[in-house]
Symmetry: C2
């Protein structure tokens, strides 16, 4: 089984990616699970609605989104509505029988909601910094996957197309991390190969130099990558560690912007972690 | 098998309806298919985005929505995103294992796109009227249901929660009529009972007089109801004719705003058509 995860960046080429997946799917018997983000569409919709996405920085320096009640609704419209159905439509156009699912459908992705977020707020004028507690956040972490639902769809010949939001045990929608979710889905579904695409050729030692691509990383070396990992790459490194620790054999990081992005990643044109 | 269809009006009580469905579902072995609209949420989102829903009147006097490229995206966000996941979340909270699906998922609802819409435009100043052809509309009519996808979900213990958009054979999203879709799903799935809820006690002879409720209507009498049927009730009458002509035995129209709305409709508190 193959899991393919793609971010929600602005330059995502829906057509090239779905064509490549159609080729892989139609030329092998391998079952595929597809996980996608939609952050660019979410941010655009939030801005268009005059409620721009709020970001906070944790005391450890990690940037994350503060998802309040309005934000979880906007997220749901962009992720489970616009972008999930856009992916499904491209797959259908390429003769892949895709079924879109959010984490709430059939309690596919169940997690715990955070009671509080801690935001480190800088006062640049005074040169001081203080911690602010944020309650009532619709954010959390997934710890349970409904493998039964995925299996009946896969066995029926349907490719699950999975996205946010996830859900708490008692039915509250929460924003969670797609890289960690992908790692958990992969381990629960006994996925052996995982392809993760983003808008870079792979792991770069220097983010401004495409020639600094690192071809291979072992599990042991992964933590050493954290200092090079800028922005959301940090979460991809953590997701890869999770996935490898829970049974995934190989992870392929590759460029989402090129032709045949998945085939190229699988052929080792990006970064292979094993 | 029971099919429950509910409109997308502003006063929809998600909690009362999902509680009632949970009671029915947990106290019988009857399989349930749920179909819903989201027109109020769609119109609100369209207004909030500064792109209000465009309505046209056909030469025969039927009002319908003109769905252009922006409108089909807004519809997808409101129907398949916000409201579909809101329903699923209420069902999950009431221990019903619900899975949200749009018509595009697994090509659940395949239809033909209209080549052209005809709009009858009144010039009130001059007292004249002319026909305007509208091309490039994302509107159509469903003629095919993927019963295989519904059956594997139902057999797996999941309640399908179905909404717009539908899809053409070649993967283009289209806006279609939920009443006609419900009738087609019911006939293809061999549904015997169909409950249709809306914001009125049932079929009223006089829309302003709740005491003018018509308790029973036969198939033969249905066309006589068209003159009483105001606005979207016309489409419900046409949907009921379709459903009865294709094997559904009984249709129950009931009030979506009361407690236990489905149980009450099934008990004959609204209008029964058979």
């Amino acid at each position: 089984m193959l899991l393919i995860k793609i971010g929600g960046g602005q330059d995502t080429n829906f057509e090239l990616i779905s064509q490549d997946i159609a080729n892989i799917s139609n030329n092998s018997s391998e079952q595929i699970i597809f996980v996608h983000g939609a952050n660019a569409a979410r941010d655009q919709l939030a801005t268009d609605l005059g409620k721009p996405t709020k970001r906070i920085v944790s005391p450890s320096g990690m940037t994350s989104v503060h998802t309040d009640e309005q934000a979880i609704e906007i997220l749901t419209m962009a992720y489970a509505g616009l972008i999930n159905k856009r992916w499904v439509s491209h797959f259908i156009q390429n003769n892949v029988q895709a079924v879109g699912l959010s984490g709430i459908d059939g309690k596919l992705l169940v997690g715990q909601r955070k009671k509080v977020l801690i935001s480190q707020v800088e006062d640049t004028l005074r040169g001081t910094s203080r911690k602010v507690l944020i309650r009532n956040t619709y954010t959390g972490r997934v710890n349970q996957v409904n493998t039964d639902l995925l299996n009946i769809l896969l066995d029926g010949g349907y490719m699950p197309v999975i996205t946010q939001p996830a859900v708490t045990e008692d039915g509250v929608m929460i924003n969670t991390d797609n890289d960690l979710n992908s790692a958990l889905i992969a381990s629960e579904m006994n996925v052996e190969k995982m392809v993760v695409l983003f808008e870079a050729p792979g792991m770069l030692r220097d983010i401004n130099d495409p020639d600094s691509l690192i071809r291979k990383i072992s599990r042991e070396e992964l933590p050493n990558m954290l200092p090079f990992a800028k922005g959301t790459m940090k979460k991809k490194v953590l997701g890869a560690m999770e996935a490898l620790d829970h049974g995934v054999k190989e992870i392929y990081w590759g460029d989402s912007r090129i032709k045949d992005p998945i085939s190229n990643a699988l052929a080792g044109k990006g970064t292979i972690i094993s």
